[in-house]
């Protein structure tokens, strides 16, 4: 479902259009309320016999307003303004006939129909056209009063009413226009936001399907390997290969089959380290691995081999010399190098006291890495444990390891 917010331009058109509707309603009410005033005033002035003609003209104007509200077309409004203008002239002349003082004593009664001329416009989509229609109506109302006064020879008194209606209508249109103008800068584009919500929902759906598929294939297959006999039968081999093919094809995920497969070299290195960790655990050294990420990094094969060898040598030293049963392995990813930290809280030693001819550290760790462009540093002191930092260059970053929130947002 979509957000319950109309596009601003559509809302603006509807609101602007209501000003004209209000004008029709007020115009009709004005005419209706004028009828009792007309009857009472003319009776009071001893002119009861003159009532039918102005009354008929008021009803004519009222019918015109109803017609405008019914058909709402420009030509209907123009015809109304002309016809109602003529009717109003006749209405005012009928009131002036034999009673010119009425223009001074009962101007309110005389100019009522002219209010309807100002108020009745078309359903304007924009404020500007609404103001123009009101101005046109005011011009006709003023012309009607002028013609009537000239024909009857009475003073020209258009009255405050038409101007007041005009001012209110114009203020209304301009207020709505200013509101709508201010909104264009402040109201967000909900269509774009909805599209983004849809994208997130689609991503969530894909994610669910991905995890389900990985669970049903890779995770189950690993379980099969864990519990398999030494030799796999053809049916199991076929299942493993079919599952891998399903993931590569990935028809379940989208219409495209362009799914990046695992990087063999990167996986091989990681698995080699994992095997090594597992071996040392069987030998009594528990290794905590931290810093494993989801990035895919490719190393030169010689570099990878040297790194695995150096890490293995470092753990051999921990197992043989430190007396510790627990060691840490931390992987740190940078733009051009991978750093492996091997540390323990064991006996430690004084690096300066190691004889130059001792091959353990120098040959198996330092020189091994330096020969492939890497580096090794060792920090240790008796009783304070040992930390070995191994750094090797990266050949290629296939998929960078996601930066941590902490690093992205310092402080």
């Amino acid at each position: 479902m979509r957000v319950r917010v109309l596009p601003r331009e559509l809302a603006a058109r509807i609101i602007n259009g209501t000003v004209a509707t209000m004008g029709w309603a007020v115009g009709a009410l004005t005419i209706v309320l004028t009828i009792p005033v007309l009857i009472e005033t003319l009776i009071a002035r001893g002119r009861a016999g003159d009532i039918p003609l102005p009354l008929a003209l008021l009803l004519f104007v009222l019918l015109g307003i109803i017609a405008v509200a019914r058909w709402r077309r420009t030509e209907v409004v123009v015809i109304f303004l002309v016809a109602a203008g003529v009717a109003t002239i006749i209405y005012q002349l009928a009131l002036f006939a034999g009673d010119p003082a009425i223009v001074e004593e009962a101007l309110y009664l005389v100019n009522r129909p002219t209010l309807a001329l100002v108020a009745v416009g078309v359903t304007a989509a924009s404020a500007l056209s609404g103001v123009l229609w009101c101005t046109f109506g005011l011009a006709i109302a003023t012309a009607v009063s002028l013609i009537s006064s000239l024909v009857a020879g009475v003073p020209f008194r258009p009255g405050l009413g038409p101007i007041l209606v005009y001012v209110i209508a114009v203020v209304g249109y301009l207020t709505f226009a200013a509101i709508q103008n201010a909104q264009r800068a402040k109201v967000p584009n909900f269509d774009e936001l909805e599209a983004e919500t849809g994208r997130l929902a689609r991503g969530e759906d894909l994610m669910r399907r991905t995890t389900a598929a990985v669970h049903d294939t890779v995770l189950n297959d690993l379980s099969i390997v864990m519990n398999a006999t030494d030799t796999l039968d053809d049916r199991v081999v076929k299942r493993l290969l079919d599952d891998l093919e399903q993931l590569r094809g990935a028809d379940w995920i989208s219409h495209t089959t362009d799914i990046p497969t695992a990087d063999d070299q990167d996986a091989s290195l990681r698995n080699e380290i994992m095997r090594m960790v597992s071996d040392f655990q069987w030998r009594g050294l528990s290794i905590h691995v931290t810093g494993y990420g989801t990035g895919v990094y490719r190393l030169d094969p010689d570099v990878a081999q040297a790194l695995v060898g150096a890490v293995s040598a470092a753990f051999e030293n921990v197992l043989r010399h430190s007396g510790a049963t627990v060691a840490e392995l931390e992987l740190i990813y940078d733009e051009d190098v991978i750093t492996v930290m091997v540390s323990d809280q064991g006996a430690g030693f004084d690096p300066a006291a190691i004889a130059p001819d001792r091959l353990g550290v120098r040959g198996s760790i330092i020189e091994r890495l330096e020969s492939v462009g890497g580096a090794a540093r060792i920090w240790s002191s008796p009783g304070s444990g040992t930390t070995v930092m191994l750094t090797v260059p990266i050949l290629e970053i296939v998929q960078p390891h996601p930066e941590s929130q902490h690093r992205r947002n310092p402080g």
Binding site: M1, T18, P36, V37, Y108, T175, L206, L232
Partner: protein
């Protein structure tokens, strides 16, 4: 012309489209200014006819205040106004009207130029966007019923040119016109917008339309990350056709890690995805974010983004917490440390807040230095 429907009499233009009424120039302010200008001008014009012009100016100020009262009661973060607030505003306007009528006691004056009926009409006009047509009609007719007899009794002997019917109609016609105009406004806005909004809200955001290459690329990367290590291992084992003890150990290690990754991934909601690209902290132990509808998600995301984009915001302190309520609904709290002054904060966040208000229940805003808002999502 569309068929008359009583339902459209019971909703206000503000309820149906709140976004149209929070930016300036604000409708009640405009009518307050108009009240002051028109009433003040006519009070000046009729000064010579009036024995006590100070009562006229006092009446003008009271009617102006009535429109300002509507303005303050309809600020974006306040609860929607109802009959009570409308009645108070109209009561204030009527008090100004009666004060003006008392000022004209025993004074012959041009009743057609009396500003007070128009002043009450403008107060009703101030309420037009915020009350349904039915309330506008009742309050307007109530104002006529209250003011016209009192005004007639006070001025009837001082109106030489008009009979009683004309006098009452001249007094009441501005308010009657306002009743008709405001009711027509409210009814027409609601009747034209409501079907459009309902039609719009029925449109489902098509999954097909939302499909895009970027989402699928991200998912392919995620798949590759999941299988990066296990797939080559499984392939090598399958190709070799034999399993060594080391292979079993590695399979166990890989399975444990993969299971952790899958559990972590399956607990990630769309809100966590938003948090990934910001410093937003999400507390959602019961995974209630997944129960939110598309409209609620869009509205909440828009608000959160607006909050994060607000100058003076400590984005790191933005906290969203979702909890299940006893009735099965979801209670949502959003809090943030914010230095922005109240007025600017409201105006910046108002469109998002108002939109969120159309999609959730019981939306509340706390007014202090910390931005806090809470709402419920129906079960």
């Amino acid at each position: 012309m569309s068929r008359f429907n009583r339902q459209f009499l019971t909703q206000s233009a503000y309820e149906i489209d709140p976004l149209s009424w929070f930016t300036g120039p604000l409708v009640p302010i405009v009518f307050a200014v108009l009240n002051l200008a028109y009433g003040g001008t006519l009070a000046l014009v009729t000064w010579v006819q009036v024995g006590n012009p100070r009562l006229q100016f006092a009446g003008v100020i009271i009617c102006t205040f009535a429109s300002l009262f509507v303005h303050f009661m309809t600020r974006p973060l306040r609860p929607r106004i109802g009959w009570g607030t409308g009645a108070i505003a109209m009561g204030i306007g009527c008090a100004g009207f009666i004060l003006s009528a008392i000022g004209y006691t025993n004074i012959v004056f041009s009743i057609e130029l009396w500003w007070a009926p128009f002043g009450v009409a403008l107060v009703l006009a101030s309420l037009a966007p915020y009350l349904p047509a039915r309330a506008l009609v009742v309050l307007g007719l109530g104002a006529i019923a209250l003011t016209s007899p009192i005004a007639y009794l006070i001025v009837k002997d001082d109106v030489p040119n008009w009979g009683p019917v004309a006098t009452v109609l001249i007094i009441s016609s501005p308010i009657a016109s306002a009743v008709v105009a405001t009711a027509a406004f409210s009814y027409v806005v609601v009747s034209r917008m409501q079907p459009l909004i309902e039609k719009r809200s029925e449109v489902l955001v098509s999954p097909e339309a939302a499909r895009d290459n970027e989402t699928e690329r991200e998912e392919r990367v995620r798949l590759a990350q999941f299988t990066a290590r296990a797939a080559p291992f499984l392939e090598s084992v399958a190709r070799a056709g034999v399993v060594t003890p080391a292979d079993r150990a590695l399979a166990g290690q890989l399975a444990r890690r993969l299971r952790d990754d899958l559990v972590t991934q399956s607990n990630v909601s769309w809100l966590d995805s938003v948090a990934d690209s910001s410093r937003l902290v999400v507390i959602d132990p019961e995974y209630r974010a997944g129960k939110m509808k598309s409209t609620q998600r869009t509205a909440l995301r828009a608000l959160l983004q607006a909050i994060l984009d607000t100058p003076g915001t400590d984005a790191g302190s933005l906290l969203v917490e979702l909890r299940s309520a006893p009735d099965g609904s979801t209670a949502v709290g959003v809090s943030l440390d914010m230095e922005l002054p109240e007025g600017r904060r409201i105006m910046h966040l108002a469109p998002y807040y108002l939109t969120l208000g159309t999609a959730v229940k019981d939306l509340e805003w706390s007014r202090d230095r910390f931005l806090k808002l809470s709402f419920n999502l129906p079960d």
